[in-house]
Every structure is written in C-alpha cells, then in structure tokens.
Amino acid sequence: MSTSRSDDSREHALEHALDHLRHVLPAQGPIGTFVHHNTLHAVQHESFHDAIKRVTERTGAEGYLSEDRFRAELATGRIADEDLDAALARRHSQLGARWCAPLDPTKVEKLSLVHGITPASRSARRFALDEDEELRVVFAGAAPRSPRSALLAAIRSLLGHLAPGVDETDRVGVDRTHRDGLRALSGVDPCEQADLWLVRFLAAFLDERVARWPMAHRDRGLLAAATAQLHAARWARGEALENASIVLDRAGRGGARSLISAALDELGVGEAHWESYLERSLGSLGGWAGMVARLEAVPADRSQAAPPVSLLEFVALRLVLDRECVRSAAAHEGHSGPLASMRSFLAARTEREDRTLDGVFRLFELFERGGVGLDSVERAGAEGVRGTLAVLDSFTSIERRQVFQEAYERQHMRMVLSALSDNLRSPADPADASPRFQVAFCIDDREEAIRRHFEELDPRYWTYGVAGFFGIAMDWAGLDDPRAAAQCPVVVTPGHVVREVATASHAHVSRQRRQRRALAARARRAVADATGSLVRGVALTPVIGVVAVWTMLTRVLFPRLSARFSQWLSAKVVPTPRTILSTSRSHPEDAGDKPHGFAEDERVARVRATLEAIGLTRTFAPIVALLGHGASTVNNPHHSAYECGACGGHNGGPNARAFAAMANEPVVRDGLRAQGIDIPDATWFVGGWHDTTTDAVTLFDVDAVPESARAALEELVAALDVARARSAHERCRKFEHAPSALTPEQALAHVEERSVDLSQARPELGHATNAACVVGRRDITRGLFLDRRAFLVSYDPSLDRDDAVLARILGAVVPVGAGINLEYYFSTVDPERFGAGTKLPHNLSGLLGVQEGVSGDLRTGLPRQMTEIHEPVRLLCVVEATPAALLRVAASNPEVSELVVNGWVRLVSLDPETRAMHVFVDGRFERHDPDDISLPVHDRSEQSYVGRMDSLPPAKIAPRRGAPEPQQASR
C-alpha cells in the first residue's frame, strides 16, 4: 500500500519534472521554420527581473549586459546619472526601509554601481596584501602607521569574524549536478565522453534522410536505438560508457521511468529536487534536449516517416550515461562508497572562501571611495559596519545590473517620448489632405526608413503600418511549393488554403516549369551524391572540379555579376507562367479539412478588418498599395529569421497580393459599401513586396491595373524607386564594408551584392537596434527620423469606439514585437547561451539546426552577426489610447496582459485627445512629462545620418519641396 502510494508520488514527481523540462528547454523548432519568440517564454508568467534572476541562478546564463559594459555606457553618457538615481530610488521604494552607517543604503549602492565593489578573487587579495606594505602590517597584527591603515584596522576589528558562505558544492544534488561538483573539484568534465557520444548519436537518430545511410531500427524509439548503438563493440568504449551499455541492456524495453528513478535514487537526489536537478543535467546539451522535446511536441515539423522521439527516454539515457561517467570519475578522484554521499566527499575536499578578509577589503574600498573617515566608521560601530556590508552583499551583481538596465532603458524612453511630444507640438511634415498614394507596409522596424523616404517625396504620399500578413491568415502554396504552409503569425492557425495557379493560357508553361525544375533538381542531387560517394565520385570529380574553379572565382570575386548571370540563365531555362491566386472559393464543398479560398462574406470581412485597423475607411487615393516584405540571402542557415515574423517566417508578398485581389473584386466592394466603407471605383489596390535585403520592390498583377490608373502606377513605381534607393543608402551607413561615399544608386548595388555574396555573414542587419513600437495615427511619427528602430503600427482611435480594433491590434503586435525584441535582447546579452555564438564555425546538422563545429550543441538563438550592434532594451510600446482603454484591452487578453504587467515590454499611453503621456510602472499608469526639447530639423533624412555609424537620436525631417533635388547624395 505504502509502496504503491510512493510509486504514485514518484510517478507524479517525474511527470511534473518532465513538464517543467518541456517548458524550460529551448523551444525553437528546426531552423528552416525559425520564428522569433521570447527566449525566456517559459518564465514569462514571472516578472522580467525575477525571471532573469531565477534563470541565472539555475543555468548560469547572463540576463543582462555585463557590468563593465554598463559602466562603459555610463562613461559615454548613454546611461545618464539622473536615470541611474531614478532607478535606484525606485528600487528603494520597493525594498522599504533599511538602515546602515556611516553611509546610507542609497549611497552604498550608488558607489557599488559606479565602482563595482565586488568580492575579489583569492589571488587578487593575496596580491594586494603582498604589494601594499601598509595593509600587510595591519593584517600582520601590528599597529597602523597611517590614516589608511588605521581605517583598515578599524574596519577589521569592528567587523569581527564572518561565517563562511554557502558553496556551490552544497547545492550538488539540488540544482547542481554531481558532474558540476566533480568538474569544480578536478577541473575536468567527467561527462565529456558522454556528451560527444550523445551528439553523434542524436544527429544520426534525429536525422531525416540527410545522411546517405540512415540508422537502423529507429522506429523502436530513442532509448532502444541508443541501447543498440552503445552495445556495438562496447569493449572499445572505455569504462564509463561500457558500464552504461550494460545497464541499458539489462533494463530492456520500456524501462525509461525505472531507469530515471533508479539513477536519481543512486545519486541521492530527493524527489523535491528532481525538477531542478534534471533541468541542470539537461543544460549541458540543452540545444539537443530542446530539439528532442520540440520534435516530440510538434510532430508537424517532421516528415511522416520520422522516428518516434521522446523526452522521457532522452532523460533516461542522459542520466544513465552521466551516472556511469560520474561513478568512474569519482573513483578516479578517490571517492569510495555510494554516489549519494558525494556531496560530503566534495565538501570535505573544497576549500571554503574566507568571507572576512573579503568583507574587510570591500568595506575599505567603499569607505575610501565614499570619502568616509575613521571617525565616522568608529561612530557607526560594529552594527553599522556590519549593516553596511549586508547592504553591499545583498546588492548582488544581478541586482546592480537590473538597476543599470532600468536606467539604460529610462534614457531611451525619455528620448523617444520627448521626440514624439515635440513632433506632436509642431509636426515636421504634415500630410496633405488629398492623398495621391496610400501604401501599407508591414509594421516591421526595417520598413521605417523606406516609409519615411517615400513620404519625404510628397505630402500627398501616405503610408500605413499593419502586421505584414494583412489580416489574411492562410495556408499558402506558391507555384513552386509542393505543400501549403501557414502564412500568418504563429499563434494563428489558418482556416483556408490559397494556391498560386497558372492562368489557363499558361498551363503549359507551368508544366514545363515543373518538369525542368525537377530535372535540374535531380541533376543537382545526383552530383551532390556522386561527390560524396566512392565510385561515382571518382568518375565525376575531374569534370566537376573544373566547373568548381570557375564557379568559385566568379562567385567570390564578382558576386553580383555572377548571380545576375545565373538568374538570367535560370529564367531562360525555367519559364515563369502568368499566375492567379485562388482567393475565392470555387467549390464550397471542397474535400479536406480546409476550404480552398475564402467565401464572399469572409473576403469582405477580411478586407474590412484590415482597412479599419489602419484607419483607412475614407479618403481613398487612386492607388492603394500593400507591400509585404521578405529577404534574399545566400549561404545563410538563419534565412528564415530575416523574413516576415507576422507571416511565420515567410515572405509576406502572397498575403499582400491576396489582399489586393480581394479588395479589387466588385462583389467585395459592394459588400464593403453595404457596411459603410465606400471605396471609389477609381481606386485600385496593388499588392507587392519589399525585399529588406536588396531594397527591391516587386509589384504583383500590374497587368490588371485599369487604364485610368496606369499613369498613377508609373508615378508610384518611380517614387518607390527613389525611396528604396535612399533606404538602401541609409542602411549602408551601418555597413563597414560599404564604400565611404555612395550615391543612392551605388548603395542599391552594394546591398544587392550583399544579398548574393557567399562570403557575406551579414546580408542585412535584420531587426538589430529595434527598440520601440508606436501604435497610433501616422501624424504622431510622420516627419520623424527614428533610425529604423521603431515598429510603426497604424491605428485610428477616433474610429474605434469599443476598443475592439485596439484589442485586435495589440493582441497581434505586442506578442510579435515582444518576441522579436526579446529574442534579440537575450541573444545579445548572452550570445553563448541564449544566442548562437558566432556564425563562423556553424555546421548544419541534418535539417534541424546549426551546431558549433562537429562536436557541439545545437544552437537555437540568433548568431552574433545579427545582434552585435543591438542595444538590448525592452520594447517601448507607445499606444495612442487612454490608460483606461489600455487597461480594458489588457484585461481581455491574457498574453498581452502577461507581457505588460510582468514588464517584458514597456507600455506608454498617449492620450488621443489631451496628448498626455502615462507610463505603466508596477501595475499602474504614472503620468510622465516628456523633457521639453526641440529636435534638430533637417530637410532630408540623409542629413541626420550622414557620416555616422552608431545609433542616432530622433530628428525632425521637414522637407523643403519645390527646391531642386540635389543630384548626388554622399554618405
């Protein structure tokens, strides 16, 4: 009876621990489906700072920039002293009353922030003692000879002796593993062999037919496959792995649970600590463990034939391997007896840090820096001095950096809000009342520049920002896609399929295209296989080698030219048919789960929803264009991360095209008219996409544009050409390899070259430097130079009486924006654990992801090449809505509320009427009065960035139109 109850409780504890692991392991899927998300999504239910603290304690990952970096920012003025004081004041109001003497707690903490009075290493202290005669005298017990040594002597006698602190070894079996303990002791990782073997095994086990010769019997599951693999020639494996193989052989099938509990029992890990112990255990190959968990949870990422995979079995395997390795290593270190007693063995072997000496030194430094004399110290007495040390101790590195982070962000907030307020007071570039064009871009921060450059050309050019799927959630199959894939934010599951099909007259072209693509693909595969095989390789190598020389020379020396040539060639060989989209449902009773195309009322509803969201329900221009966006890069496994996040990591062009097709339909327009949105017949919608890498703009279905709008279309194309060249020019300022003086046309050539250059590790800079998000009417930001750092979302509060539109917008924008922003944040602050390190040694493993070299962990974050210029600040969302409206929306949307209330994004309300600003702090809105500044005013964007490479503060752009256009722009 009691046994079965304890079995139940063990079962329960294990399930609980596994759930926890599924939660905390990296959740990014196979790299081909990369979508930005909050790296710490698992702990999003906690507040930002608490979550970081917890994760840091458990995993050792960094949650903030380093203190050195922050101090450097303090020195350059990027962190203002006033912001540091404000952040400290906030901390003190949260902590409540504290006392210490002779310095008050705020002063102690300020000194600690600025000077970093940290525990010194043992060797550093020894060095200080050896070097400084004065100090040595005091520690030798002699009488002090100078005021300095007198101070030191006083501190020493007042402080008395301190008990030794908690050591890492005390946590072995709790949230440190035996492996950690042994490594700390001997400096050698006892489980290295196990890791190497696991990487090799997992790569082969999880592989989806990339290896020419797949592993056998994978269908029996991970543990069975591992058992068989370890069994083969186990005599050659060395003691630990050989023992592990024997254990696994004995366990037989289905023994994962008993293996886990047996291992944890033997290691002496109590049920209460299973969760934290396993989290730590799996941390050493966290990327692989996360991939196992993810593939188990989302089978859709894999092919049908993929082998079953289970986190439970992986945990069992990991524990068995680790235990045997630890057993061998412990014996080697001289440990005998059960592994459960290892903690005491380690504790006996570990030399404890003496905290007294350390405390004396830190107080000494603190008082010297704070200008505290001997008298004050003696007046404060033992209690005051000990209290001071307690304050100093409790202000840990994490908490110091938390304060720094707040100050760092506060400066950014003040800068943005005062810029917005200045532009509201005196708009730099008001729009003309009768629009010539209305162009809707994605909200993406990378579209900020091209929008601004486009608007600079003419006050009648209006732009909007809307999540780049344009409200059309669909499973999309382009002409060349064998299967449909979701084109919408990952949180949405599309209910419709849309296909791109050739027009009837071009059906034969489509057939030809398919045949020739297949032929080319077969040839490519045959060549790739041949070069990897023995016999065919011998026959083919001399021939292919000659081609390789030519390819290598041209692709490395003349990337743009050779790419153009191969594009030209493939366009010649593989014809492109004219196509249409199946947006309208042709067969209402279509078989399958999902209907093909949308019904009439669905089309009307979708067009209406998006138009309402951006506030475009009247005053239509002759042409309304919608531009999705995508990226073109080569030799880049992280390609998906450069694409449109609102389209699930795909190109948003098809959504824009589908939207335009729907909005141009007479029946849809009739339906909209009936609902009060009257689109004039003279208005035509055009879909297209903007390439964020090359700044190319492609418009779809231009042949269908009616005669009456042709002239306008030509003007639009010309205007977009100017805008995209200038956008490219603005981007080039941040590329060190771009020539120092460029015309916009040369800039375009440069960015085009980057997109096809095999050696280019930074085809574009992605979302790096993203920092803010402005939701509201364009007049708030029109004419503001925001340095491509802001997501811009169109929203018209005057049309939104019941906050329904606001709720919809924030429900999409806040999670997507926060996902992008936080992924960049964490990959920046810890490139090694949250990010993917540097791209240079990356090695694609199967279709799963990149590993470092051939023996490393899978890396699921962003590579350093994407984050190196990023300023890690949480997204500052400024929303044109009253605090009350925002609170109502947050109350109705748990995800938004979680992100905002827990501080994963910063939220500011901008009152639509009064223009008052309220910042959301600690659960409520506080009034914020922006600094009263006047931004610099420039004629053109270019003037605000010329010659600069760093992040720039906002500026106002008030174009002087009518003046002759300067011919040449130079950087």
Binding site: A203, A236, P637, Q760, N843, L844
Partner: protein
C-alpha cells in the same frame, strides 16, 4: 635578364612573399598592436596575390623550358665537405649541407599555382566572412603562414626543405582548428590533430636522413637520377627504398588523414568555415598525396612499398566512404567524402597513375573547397531540391546497402557511426604499449640514477606522474 634568372626571382617571390606578410604581422602582434582589419587583410591579400602571380609566371617559364628547373638559393649551413652525390652514394657520405633549392617541374608547378589560387580566393572570401571577428588578425596571420608553408612544401627541391614547409603548414593548421580556443571542442580537436602530426612527421624526418645516407642527398633532382617527374627513378636497392618509402608513407598518413590515423580530420571542422574549406577540403589534406607523388620513384623501386600504399589507400577509401555515409551534418559528411577521394588518389599513386592523380588532385581540391565554402547553404539546397522533386524523403539506397544482408548492414552502421572504433584500437594497440614502455624505461632509468647517485628521484615526483595511468589521449585536458 634571361629566363633562368627570371625563374630564380619568381621562385623566390612565390615562396618568400607570404612570409613577407607574416613577419610584420607577427612583429606587430608580438608587440600587442592590432592593425585594422583593412590593413591586415590588405597586407595578406596583396602579398599572397603577388606570390600567386609569381607562381603562375614560374609555371609559364617552366612550360617554355625544356625539363625541370632547379633554382639554387645557396645553403643555410654546411657541415664539412661533401663530394658529388653520385660519387659518395652508398656509405660514403660524410658531410651535410642544408641546401635551399627549389624544383619546378610538372608536379610542383601545377600544385604551386593551385596553392596560390585557392588560398587567395579563400583569403578574399574570409575578408567579409570574418569581419568583426575578434580573431581576425590572428586568422590572417595564420593563413599567410600556411600559404608560405605550402609553397615551400610544394616547391621544395629536397626532403629537408619540404619538411620545413610541412611543419609550417601543420602548425598553422593546428592553430586554426583551435581558432575558437575558448570552447572545449576546438582545442580537443586541435590537440588530436597536433598529436597525429607530431608523431607522423617523424616519418618525414627519418626519410630525409635515410635518403642522405643511402643516396647521398635528399634533393629530389639528385636523388632521383636527374630525370623529370614523373619519369624520375632511383637506383636504390628495393630494401632501402622500402624503408624510406615506409617512413614517407607514415608521414603522409598523418597529413592526409589516411587509415588508420585519419579520424582527426572529420573532427577538425571546428574552425571558421573558410579555413576548414582551404585546409581540409583544399590544400593541407592533399599534402600527403603530394608527398607520395613526389616520392613516386622510391615507392616504385620497392614492390612491397607499392603494395603497402595500395592497401592504405584502399582501406582509407573504404573506411571513409562507409563512415561518411552515416553522417548527417554537412561538414563531417564533406570531410569523409574528401578523405574517401584522397584514399583513391593514394591508390592511384600505387598504381603508378601519376599524371592522372595530379589532375585529379587539382580538380578535387577545387571541388571540395567550393563545397565547404557553400556548406551553410546545405539546408536551402536540400529544401529546394525536395520542393522541386515534390518529395520529402529520398529512396536511394547506397550500393553497399543493396548488396549486403540487412543484419550485417545494421551492425556495420553502428560501427561506422563511431569510425569502427579505430581510435580505441590505435590507443590500445599502439599508444598504451608505447606509453607503458616509456614509463617502464623511465622507471629503470630512475632506479639506475638512484643506484649510481644515491638520490631517490622517485620519492616526490614519481607519485605525481604515476598516479595518472596512461589513458586514451582524448581524455587528457
């Protein structure tokens, strides 16, 4: 200036210019200065580019010249008089002179141009690829060192000089594997590579010494009867030829990752992609093949040596192709594919297909360099191919799978995934006995010393070293 003089200058420039790039960089680096990326890469690109042009010029001169060009640059040191090589062949060689001679013939001219071109393209590639990398400076320094070393290796007129290039290439190769030295994987791989190099390089040294002994000179032109490659020949007795060949083959086994010491190469893919491409796809991995081609007359002179080379080549090709077929990560798969073809080339040497192997080597080096440079595209390529073929999986089984029964196939797969445990076997059969022997000798020596001097050396020091039993190399930090 006549053609001979021009060739002398061009040969000197080919070899010296990369070192001209190395020296100032090394000096600056030693002083702690870090020149800008632009200055660093310009220096290396310009000087290695000029070296590459010089090698092309040299090759052009050789084409117009009748027979091989021997360029003499004097000697570095001179130990006593030495008669003419032929006069003193046999046991009469009494002196030693390290002569700096370059030999330009079909083999070296071709390989030198290949070296120049491939390394220059890779350097050019690296300028953008390594942009903003903290090790940018170190990378280009090592790259230039490697190019210089390779040119010495390729153009060397004697085994003595070849050994110098061989070592330089080895050092730069090892240091670039460990480029990311803060992580464990790269340093482990680098140590493995270094150990393999160190041990097998002895072969080359021994070969040079023996050749001096038997042929009176380690200069190719002298030792090989002054015939142009590949028709060169030697009059050494088969037994001497076998001993020298064995030493040379031993050296080639390490450098070209041949069976059974080749497992270091697939693990060496830890550095930046372009250096992996140049070293383990392009040049360094072919250095062993080059050495065998260069030593062809010696190998030819001994049927046993030819057989040995053939067996090693075939075993390498077989091992690497089977192991490579189980790999799902792109860089290992390419590494094994490379080793497979290198094995074939070695086999070709044994079969005396010298010209074929030379052409094959050039083509193969270019192909693998390109493939490795494009390694990050693998995902995109696979997806594109699958989309075009409208399938998600492939159903082509390899030849081996179709021929052999399933149960054996599974067993072989399990072994192949772990390189047939070659390392463990080598550790047990060679490494541990050698270490055991050396520690036994050490003990004997200590006892002798103790007996003779009365000082017991064992007391403090021996416990330290004996408590760590000799284990597999990899387990050592």
């Amino acid at each position: 200036m006549n053609a001979e003089q021009l060739a002398w200058w061009l040969g000197g420039a080919t070899v010296a210019l990369p070192f001209v790039a190395v020296l100032p960089l090394l000096l600056l680096g030693g002083l702690g200065a870090r020149p800008s990326e632009r200055a660093t890469s310009r220096t290396v690109l310009v000087l290695c580019g000029l070296s590459s042009l010089a090698s092309m010029g040299l090759a052009a001169l050789w084409l117009r010249h009748d027979g091989p060009l021997v360029l003499r640059y004097g000697s570095i040191f001179d130990l006593g008089p030495r008669g003419h090589a032929f006069a003193t062949s046999g046991h009469g060689a009494v002196g030693y002179r390290f002569e700096v001679d370059l030999l330009v013939d079909r083999l070296s001219a071709t390989t030198s141009v290949l070296t120049g071109v491939l390394s220059w393209i890779t350097a050019r590639f690296s300028v953008r690829y390594l942009h903003r990398e903290p090790g940018f400076f170190r990378y280009f320094l090592l790259l230039a060192l490697f190019v210089g070393g390779m040119q010495v290796l390729v153009l060397a007129g004697s085994y003595d000089l070849l050994f110098v290039g061989w070592e330089l290439a080895g050092i730069s190769s090892m240091l670039l594997i460990a480029f990311f030295h803060l992580r464990r994987g790269p340093t482990r791989a680098a140590i493995r590579a270094m150990l393999t190099y160190r041990v097998t390089d002895v072969g080359l040294l021994v070969a040079g010494v023996l050749l001096h002994h038997f042929a009176g000179s380690s200069g190719f032109f002298d030792a090989f009867e002054r015939h142009a490659w590949p028709d060169a020949q030697t009059h050494l007795a088969p037994s001497s030829a076998f001993v020298i060949s064995a030493a040379i083959v031993f050296a080639a086994i390490g450098k070209s990752a041949l069976f059974p010491l080749g497992t270091w190469l697939p693990r060496a893919m830890e550095g930046p992609t372009p250096s992996s491409a140049l070293f383990y796809g392009g040049l360094a991995v072919h250095a062993g093949v080059y050495l065998l081609l260069r030593s062809a007359p010696l190998i030819e002179a001994s049927p046993a040596a030819s057989l040995m080379v053939a067996v090693i080549g075939a075993a390498t090709a077989l091992w690497a192709t089977i192991a490579g077929h189980t790999r799902s990560d792109v860089k290992s798969a390419l590494a094994y594919a490379t080793v497979t073809q290198v094995g074939i080339m070695v086999l070709g040497v044994a079969l005396r297909l010298y010209n074929v192997v030379l052409v094959y080597m050039v083509a193969h080096a270019c192909l693998r360099t390109l493939q490795l440079l494009r390694a990050p595209s693998a995902l995109h390529d696979a997806e594109a191919i699958r989309a075009a073929l409208e399938d998600s999986s492939r159903e082509d089984r390899s030849l081996l799978e179709r021929l052999v029964p399933r149960s054996i196939v599974d067993r072989v797969h399990a072994l192949a995934l772990e390189d047939f445990h070659i390392d463990a076997v080598v550790d047990r059969v060679i490494l541990r006995p050698v270490l055991g022997l050396s520690s036994a000798l050490d003990r004997v020596e200590r006892r002798w010393v103790a007996a003779m001097t009365g000082v017991d050396l064992d007391a403090p020091a021996a416990t330290e070293s004996d408590s760590r039993a000799p284990g597999p190399v990899e387990e050592r930090p």
